[in-house]
Symmetry: D2
Subunit: 346 residues, 4 copies
Amino acid sequence: MIKAGIIGSTGYAGAELVRILLAHKEVEIAWYGSRSYVDEPYSSIYRNFFQVVDAKCMDDNMEELSRQADVIFTATPQGLCASLVNEDILSRCKVIDLSADFRIKDVNVYEKWYGIEHKAPQFIGEAVYGLCERNREQIRSARLVANPGCYPTCSFLSVYPLAKEGIIDMSTLIIDAKSGTSGAGRGAKTANLFCEVNENIKAYGVAGHRHTPEIEEQLSYASGEDVTISFTPHLVPMNRGILVTAYASVKKDVTPEEMRQLYHDYYDKEYFVRVLEDGVCPETRWVEGSNYVDVNIKYDPRTRRVIMMGAMDNLVKGAAGQAVQNMNLMFGFKEQEGLELLPVFP
Amino acid sequence: MIKAGIIGSTGYAGAELVRILLAHKEVEIAWYGSRSYVDEPYSSIYRNFFQVVDAKCMDDNMEELSRQADVIFTATPQGLCASLVNEDILSRCKVIDLSADFRIKDVNVYEKWYGIEHKAPQFIGEAVYGLCERNREQIRSARLVANPGCYPTCSFLSVYPLAKEGIIDMSTLIIDAKSGTSGAGRGAKTANLFCEVNENIKAYGVAGHRHTPEIEEQLSYASGEDVTISFTPHLVPMNRGILVTAYASVKKDVTPEEMRQLYHDYYDKEYFVRVLEDGVCPETRWVEGSNYVDVNIKYDPRTRRVIMMGAMDNLVKGAAGQAVQNMNLMFGFKEQEGLELLPVFP
Amino acid sequence: MIKAGIIGSTGYAGAELVRILLAHKEVEIAWYGSRSYVDEPYSSIYRNFFQVVDAKCMDDNMEELSRQADVIFTATPQGLCASLVNEDILSRCKVIDLSADFRIKDVNVYEKWYGIEHKAPQFIGEAVYGLCERNREQIRSARLVANPGCYPTCSFLSVYPLAKEGIIDMSTLIIDAKSGTSGAGRGAKTANLFCEVNENIKAYGVAGHRHTPEIEEQLSYASGEDVTISFTPHLVPMNRGILVTAYASVKKDVTPEEMRQLYHDYYDKEYFVRVLEDGVCPETRWVEGSNYVDVNIKYDPRTRRVIMMGAMDNLVKGAAGQAVQNMNLMFGFKEQEGLELLPVFP
Amino acid sequence: MIKAGIIGSTGYAGAELVRILLAHKEVEIAWYGSRSYVDEPYSSIYRNFFQVVDAKCMDDNMEELSRQADVIFTATPQGLCASLVNEDILSRCKVIDLSADFRIKDVNVYEKWYGIEHKAPQFIGEAVYGLCERNREQIRSARLVANPGCYPTCSFLSVYPLAKEGIIDMSTLIIDAKSGTSGAGRGAKTANLFCEVNENIKAYGVAGHRHTPEIEEQLSYASGEDVTISFTPHLVPMNRGILVTAYASVKKDVTPEEMRQLYHDYYDKEYFVRVLEDGVCPETRWVEGSNYVDVNIKYDPRTRRVIMMGAMDNLVKGAAGQAVQNMNLMFGFKEQEGLELLPVFP
């Protein structure tokens, strides 16, 4: 039984961490951090946990927390984890950062896209990008894991086999993504009010969303070339879920069956990635509440493009679930421990 | 490890049974019944179970099923269970009927409100009304359990302590209930299309909904008098959840604190009933996906009425979860086995 | 052609006033007031009016506005209109207040329920309660109209004929109301975020909502007795619409047909009140975007109660549409001028 | 005052035609056709029109209808209009077909994509593709207008200026579209039930949607080359609205400002096409209920691609509104007559 602390436990990703960790056999939550609600009972913020969680919210004293916990999750806006983490903390305690602070290896790229100074660039090198299906071995021994962004996770896993095998022309890759509104966080902003989001769909961050360089970096590693993509996220009137529809030209002479076989080769051994049957498109409803990513492709002979699709729950595989998957690897637990969540439908 | 069969496993309640039973340590699902989809893979109907359930759908041969299973759940329209069940089956196998067939003790009342002839009135007497918080002991030894309706469960639990203790004038009781759309089932009806339900609220079955006599019967037992109520259900544009707002005049000289204390007295020992803090109203979002019922009351000194409120997930505590709770009691498992589901929010 | 000014034009009710007035033949909008957005183009806040409205937002200088406009609408939180209005302004310009400031005749009741001091009690007496179907004649000559609240409008019109005719026992009246989320306004509050409202239903303001005394006052006038009611509003995950379900015991010996006939007697001549066919329940989707109120009743012989139901669009008949209806009366225009809006479905 | 008949008036597009035509000064609806509801009052199907429409539903006798009406709208599934129309009818009466029957000039393409035999190929040649912004003059004198599909309308208008001016490489064009659920029609299908659509997003018809050849044909005319595109529609949990996000490589040396200027050049004179301000993305909520199409582009210097975006109401500009716009042109009415509908928000 290890002890976990959560900094930022009252955001949506933080609350999902609580939901998952409470049912995890090997973990006890020792610290419900939330700067905005210090001393308020956690279950008065998230009443789903009434009579389940007794604890009160704590501040974000990572120093102190690192003495009480074996692992710290930071589910906070970018910049906070980098400003708090230090060698002392890392020597005592593992850190899984759900923010973007340690995802991008080139600090200049980070600072340019996020518009803030990185306060702990010395740890970028050792931080492991926590996409378990990709970096499983390094994660096992990491002290600091950069938990991937929601869009990057779904985008990468949807495209990975064809990128890695050099099947698609990476310069033609376009990712059109759609997300539920929990991805926008729990901040009290007019733009996220029910009446503003409901009965609407919009693109945002067009040609400038911060997840772009993260996706590009990971796909560059995978494909072995410098990748620049078009990435457009959209806001969908639903609570959870991300759907990725990606397009690329096929540059090798392969059949659709061979392409689909690659997905099976890459993912059939993966517990959380489901390659759907031929002709079945991923839908967010089939993964809601679970750590699954459903993927599939469709080849279009008219355009010689392949459409790569993926669906997952942005709060689970896109945030808290993946963080726990990382924790499981880091502590030698069974990888799917606490994550055998069945999708909830309807 | 017992074996369970589900007749009607492709309705929403049936699918929720699957979700719950798959994660239940003591049960294996041996029969996914679905007359409409015989021989089709279950996971092609509910793709959330892709790579989780391999079985194909079976017909509704209860006779045969009773030889293979220890317990049969019938999640079918009223009339089917009564037309299939017989002494042979009951001698081999326990039956939990999620339909209304065995909920009402007076067969005339059943036939009048449901408009069909009851095909197995001989079993009405022995059937136990499966509201665990109320009939726990009889359920343990029952062969046939009538799983309560969704509205009756939430209505009864919201009102029970004050009805039982004679605090409220039962002749003044009015129950105004609101339900998510999964309660309307998965039948392809125009009225349940997305565009018909979305952005709308309506009452239905006003002064004539079939759950009325069921609520009245149970409240009559509780209060010791013949209860006739006003009951109005409403359809809400959301997937899951039932909210009950009940009104009654207070006839005894009690304080609000004393009334709230009664709820604590009745429910503090109940795992699945949560009496909220003073002033906090139940909301369906806080119980979604779980077997909890959240209840609370508010006394209005201006009218000398008490407003009794309850919220639960209609597919869990209102159907599949309660059915599993009954199964747990009938087989001597821990009552909350497989039901320690944390509510999923958002 | 008269000139209208709107104080609070960037709230939802204000924006609906804009939508209606822009299509009104006899009115020109001269002032888009919005303290929060002074000098910003109105159409940058409400982009539906892009290339339709050129004006910029103005402050809430009612003094100056009263020199430029023939009528002022105040679509602002309670207290503001009372703090700004004065004899000078009223001598120059008609005022239609969409807030609660002048709805309640007893200033003590206002101050108790709203928790603020009334800054202009001297005008309460002359203010006319702007429920056109009820006070048509007085409205025609009013300088100051108190536009009714959304819940009171729907509640009153649903209950009025039976209250007025002494058919129901007013001491048994219970109003259970449900509203779309635009009723909660456009303020950036966590409780109104998409993910908090979506997939949820809750009661709020139980036994204490501020619209209670307003409904009671109007029903007292109608019935000729002192009315105290139970009133419970609920928040529904939809943008627009209010549904009222009201319950009362029938105290006179009348048939259901006679009761329904009273609704026809009272409302058949009313353009905006539609008495539905026998057995048809009001639904908010059938009135969305229009100034209609749909009403109907159902008598329950088992309980001797009548269930009175009403549905309307909270932003139209519940706010902006009724305000324009008042304006039409005050300026001698055709009552339905600019309000012949057909409901938009789906 | 002309007389209009609607075949298929009880589908969503048909009902929207009713809403628009009822408020149109120059038109009277003479025939509410609906094979499924013959002899039922139209307002019992669409209760928003209670006390507004008295007529009963009629069969789809186009022959008879053509004797009573000046214009016939067919808002029916593909195949019906082609099977009913003939020279006699066209000699008496103008026909605006909202189905796909006369949109595609090559009958083989039609038959291949729609999988049915075309019953009236002799009229394909004379039928005018009713995209008013493109074919205004031919529409004025047409007897038979093929009203464009919803996706094609929004796709074409979003891309047109850059396609026509040869700015983009048409072989790189990818259109990712998202639609509200009213686009799926009112048929009672399980896939369109509330609980199936709500809280979900999915792609459908990937690399095979029937609107593909229609978009390609129109863009081929515009660009002067043979265009083959990737087109992927998605289903969004909202009632109305289509959003198009289109991607193409820029092949000419133009600045973003020059590209945006082209949109102004093409559309500033168009009443229904709004070119948004620089940096503002189209959103469906800003056009809901109106005949507007909002468009904008964003150039991405990193990829040298331009993202072209458009939003409109699928039932208005994507169906009924455009049909009325066509009618206005065909009968010499003001083009925006009856279509000056302000978008309804929220």
